[in-house]
Symmetry: C2
Subunit: 498 residues, 2 copies
C-alpha cells in the first residue's frame, strides 16, 4: 500500500506544484505586472489550470484513490485524511465536464466585464442578462451532482465542505433577531465622535505601523512579504512563502491598518500548517469560514480590542500627533468601534456585517429555488436593506452591484464570511478559558501564547479535519451564534453604555 500511496502523493504533488505556480502568476498579476502583460498572463494561467485538471482526473489517479480509500477508510491518520480529501475533490472534478468549465470561463469572463461596466454606470440592466446566464450555468452545475436535501447544498459545499443549507439557515435564524435588537439599541444611544479617523494620515507611516503590529503578532517575514495591490489579499506559494498585500484609501486611511491585521491572520494560518502536508491535498486551511475566523480574530477580537490599544496607542499617537491631538485612548477605542448601518458590506462594522451576509444568502437561495427572478433583484435588495438595516441604497452601485462574487459565478460563497465571524468568537471563548490572562498578555504586546494556541489547535491541522469537525473538536460545540452575540453585546454595552 505504501507504494501506491507514494505514487498518489507524487501525482498530487505535481498537481499542487502547478496550482501554486499559478498562484505566483496571479500574485504577480496583481502586484507587479505592467499593463501590457495581461493578455499573455491570462493564457498562461488558463494553460496551467487546464494541465492541473488533466493531471488530476486521470484514470490512474482514480484507481490509486479507490484502492487506497478501502485501505485507509475511517482511520484518524494524516494519510487517511489525504485520501479522503483527494477522493472528494476527484469525485467533484470528474463530474464536471471540461466543456462546461470552458463555457463557464467564457460566460463569467463576459459577466465580469459587464458587472464592471454596470457598477461604473450604476445600471443593473447591463449586468442582468449576464447574471441570468451565470445562474443558468449554476443550475446546470448543480445537475451534475446527486440530489441533495436542498439544491443550494451543492454550491455551499464547494466553499464550506459539509455545510448544509438548512444548517446555515438555522444558525442565521438564531443570530438575526439578537443582532437586529443590538443594533437598534445602539442606534438609540449617543453618537460616538470619530471624525479624527478620517483626517489625512501618511501612507508610509501607516504601512510601517502595520508591519510593526503584525511582526508582534508573529507573522514570519522570513517566510512571507507584504506588497501593495489594488485589493488586500493573502496568497500561499508554500508553507514557507505566504504573502499578503495591502492598499491605502485616502478617505478611509485606517482601513489599511485593519486589513493588514486581517490578511496577517490568513497568512499566519497558512504559515502554521504542518510542513509534512506540503504538496498533499490537506495542505492549506480547512475551509473559507475557518480561514475567515482567523483573519477576523486578529483584525477584530484582537485588533479592535481595548487591551490591544492600551499597548499600541501611545506609539500610534506618537506617530500621528496632529491627527490624534487631544484624543484619549478611550475615545480612539470607541471611534474604531463605531456601529452604524451602512450600505457597503466590506465597510460594515462588526455589529452590522452579518446582516449584509444574511441578505445575500436569502437572495441566493431564492434564486436557486427559482422564487426570485434576476430582474427583481435591485428591488428586493432595497427592501431587505430597509428591513434589516433601516437604510435604502440610493443606486444599484451601492446596492446589488457592489460585490464582484456573482459575476465570477461564485454563488454560495458569502455565508462563509458570517460563519467566520461566529467561529472566531467561539474560539475566542475557548482560548480565554485556556489562557486565563490573555488580556494582560495583549496589553503587554505579547501574542506568542495566543498564536501558539492557534497553531496547536487550528493551524497545524491544515485540512486534516473537516471544518465543522475541527470547530467541534476544539470548542466542544458545533458552529453556534451564541458566543458571537455574547461578544458583541458585552463589547458594545460598554462602549455605548447600553
Amino acid at each position: 500500500m505504501s507504494e501506491k500511496l507514494d505514487q498518489l502523493k507524487e501525482k498530487l504533488g505535481e498537481v499542487s506544484d502547478i496550482g501554486r505556480a499559478a498562484s505566483v502568476l496571479g500574485w504577480d498579476q496583481q502586484v507587479n505586472m505592467p499593463p501590457g502583460g495581461s493578455e499573455a498572463r491570462g493564457r498562461q494561467l488558463a494553460t496551467l489550470s487546464k494541465i492541473a485538471q488533466e493531471k488530476f482526473i486521470t484514470d490512474e489517479v482514480g484507481r490509486l484513490i479507490d484502492d487506497l480509500k478501502q485501505e485507509f477508510d475511517g482511520a484518524d491518520t494524516d494519510e487517511a485524511a489525504m485520501i479522503r480529501v483527494a477522493a472528494r475533490d476527484y469525485d467533484k472534478a470528474k463530474r464536471v465536464p471540461p466543456e462546461f468549465i470552458a463555457e463557464q470561463a467564457i460566460v463569467t469572463s463576459k459577466a465580469f466585464e459587464a458587472w464592471r461596466e454596470a457598477k461604473g454606470k450604476s445600471d443593473f440592466s447591463i449586468f442582468q442578462p449576464h447574471l441570468e446566464r451565470v445562474v443558468e450555468l449554476v443550475e446546470k452545475y448543480i445537475s451534475f451532482f446527486p440530489p441533495t436535501d436542498h439544491p443550494y447544498d451543492v454550491l455551499l459545499d464547494d466553499y464550506e465542505h459539509g455545510m448544509k443549507t438548512a444548517d446555515v439557515k438555522a444558525i442565521f435564524d438564531g443570530l438575526r433577531p439578537k443582532q437586529v435588537k443590538l443594533i437598534k439599541a445602539i442606534a438609540s444611544s449617543k453618537h460616538v465622535k470619530d471624525d479624527f479617523l478620517y483626517k489625512k494620515y501618511n501612507e508610509q507611516k501607516l504601512m510601517d505601523f502595520g508591519v510593526q503590529v503584525i511582526t508582534k503578532f508573529g507573522y514570519d517575514w522570513s517566510r512571507g512579504r507584504q506588497d501593495k495591490a489594488p485589493h488586500p489579499f493573502e496568497t500561499t506559494f508554500s508553507v514557507n512563502d505566504v504573502r499578503i498585500t495591502t492598499r491605502f484609501e485616502a478617505d478611509n486611511p485606517l482601513a489599511m491598518l485593519f486589513s493588514t491585521m486581517h490578511e496577517s491572520g490568513h497568512a499566519m494560518y497558512e504559515q502554521g500548517i504542518n510542513p509534512a502536508y506540503e504538496r498533499t491535498p490537506i495542505a492549506g486551511g480547512t475551509s473559507l469560514a475557518v480561514h475567515e475566523s482567523q483573519s477576523r480574530m486578529w483584525e477584530n477580537l484582537v485588533g479592535r480590542s481595548l487591551p490591544f490599544w492600551e499597548h499600541f496607542y501611545p506609539a500610534f499617537k506618537k506617530t500621528f500627533p496632529t491627527q490624534l491631538d487631544g484624543v484619549s485612548l478611550k475615545s480612539f477605542y470607541k471611534a474604531i468601534n463605531t456601529v452604524e448601518p451602512s450600505l457597503i458590506r466590506v465597510n460594515a462594522d462588526e455589529a452590522t456585517y452579518n446582516l449584509h451576509i444574511m441578505l445575500r444568502l436569502e437572495l441566493e437561495i431564492g434564486i436557486v429555488e427559482g422564487l426570485i427572478a434576476i430582474k427583481d433583484l435591485p428591488e428586493i435588495w432595497s427592501s431587505k436593506m430597509q428591513e434589516y438595516l433601516g437604510i435604502t441604497p440610493p443606486d444599484d452601485a451601492k446596492g446589488v452591484l457592489q460585490d464582484i462574487h456573482w459575476s465570477n459565478g461564485a454563488i454560495g460563497y458569502f455565508s462563509t464570511y458570517a460563519l467566520g465571524n461566529l467561529i472566531s468568537a467561539q474560539l475566542w471563548e475557548k482560548i480565554n478559558k485556556d489562557i486565563r490572562n490573555l488580556d494582560d498578555q495583549i496589553r503587554k504586546g505579547d501574542f506568542s501564547e495566543l498564536l501558539g494556541w492557534l497553531r496547536q489547535n487550528i493551524h497545524r491541522h491544515g485540512q486534516k479535519y473537516e471544518p465543522q469537525k475541527l470547530v467541534e473538536r476544539v470548542t466542544g460545540s458545533k458552529i453556534t451564534p451564541e458566543p458571537y452575540i455574547r461578544y458583541l453585546t458585552k463589547k458594545y454595552s460598554e462602549i455605548y453604555g447600553l
Copy 2:
C-alpha cells in the same frame, strides 16, 4: 495542412506557456522571494520543466513536425521557420533521456553549492571533484548526438546554433593578435584619471538616471519594469512583459548605470519581436550572441560614446555636482573608457574583455578534448592570464572560480559573449552607413531612428533566421572580427593618443 499546423501551434503554445510561467517563478525567486520560499520554489520549477518536456516530446508532436517539415521544407515563411526550429529542438530533446536530465539536475545542484563554498574560501579543491562529475556528464551528453567535426561542436550548438568550434577558433585567431597589440599600445600610454568614478554616489539618483536614459532609448515601460536583484538580468514573460533587474555596488557605483543600459538592450530586442510569433518556437531572440550584440551595443557603442555623453553629461553632472566637480566632459568620457588589464571578466573593459573569453574557450576545448585535467585548471588559468593580460590572479576566487557557468554545466556558453561584441560592431558599421547622421541624433538624445533600424533589421525577426544567416543577411558578411578591431582602434587611438 493548416489543420496540422494549428494543432502543432496549440501544442507548442502550451509548452511555451509553461516555460514562461517558469520564467515568472524564476524572476520572483531573484527579485521578491523570502528566504523560506526556496525549497518549494525549486520543486515547482522542476515540475514545470518536467511537464514542459513531457508535453513537447510526445509522439504526436513528432508526427506533426515530420508531416509539416515535408510540406514547408525550404520555404522562407514564418511557418517554415517555426517548423524548422521546432524540429531542431524536438530532435535534441528526444536524444537526451529523462534520467540523464534528472541526474544532471542533481549533479549541477551540488556542484553549484560546492562552487559557492569554494569561491567563498577561495579553494578550488572543494569544487574540483564536482567539476569532474559535471565534465563526465558533459561528455556523456555529447555521446547522445551524432559525430561532429569536433565534440565541442555539440555544446556550442546549444548556445549558438550552427556555430562550429573551427569557426569560433578562426574568428578568435583573427582577433587575438590585434587585440593584444592594441592593449600593449594602450599600456605604454599615459594613465587616464578616473578616481571620481569611485566616489560615493547616491543609489536612488543613479537608478533614476538610468531610468531616464533607457526611457529615451525606447524601452517600453507599459510592457516591462525594472527591479533590484542580486544580479542584473533580463527576462521575458511575453512580448508585452519584458523585465529587467539592476543592482548597486558601492565600490563601483556607475556599473549600475551601464548594466541598466545593457539589460535594456536585451529587453528592447525582446519587446521588438513580431507579436505574431508569440507562443511559437520562433519567439525570442535568435541566439545568445545576437542578444549580446544588442545589449553591448546600447551599453558600449551608444552608452560609452562621446555623442551620448555630450547629450547626457550636463544633466548627469547636475545630479552629482560634488562627485564631478571640475570634471570636464572629455575627462569623464575618457574615465569611463579606461583600459586596464584586470582579473575579473564581468568588470573588464571593452578592449580586454574578449581575451577573458578566449582564455575560457581554450580551457573548455582542452577539457573536452581530454588534454586538460580539471585539477590543473588553476595553474593553466594563471599562466594564460599572464600570457594574455600580463597579470596573475592572487587566488582561485579571482581566477578560475570567478564564474558561475561551469557549476551549472554550462560549458560552451562563454564565446557567445565575445561573438556578441563582434556582431555589435559589425551591425554598427552598417547602421552608420544607413543612418548618416546617427552621431548627431545621439547628441540630441534621439534614439528613435536607431531603435527603428534595429527593430526592422534584427528584432522583429525573432528566431526566424539562424543567427549567422541573420548577421550575413543584414551586414552582407559572416561574423568577422574586423569591424570590432576598427572600432576599438579608432576609439582608443583618440582617447589614448596612440
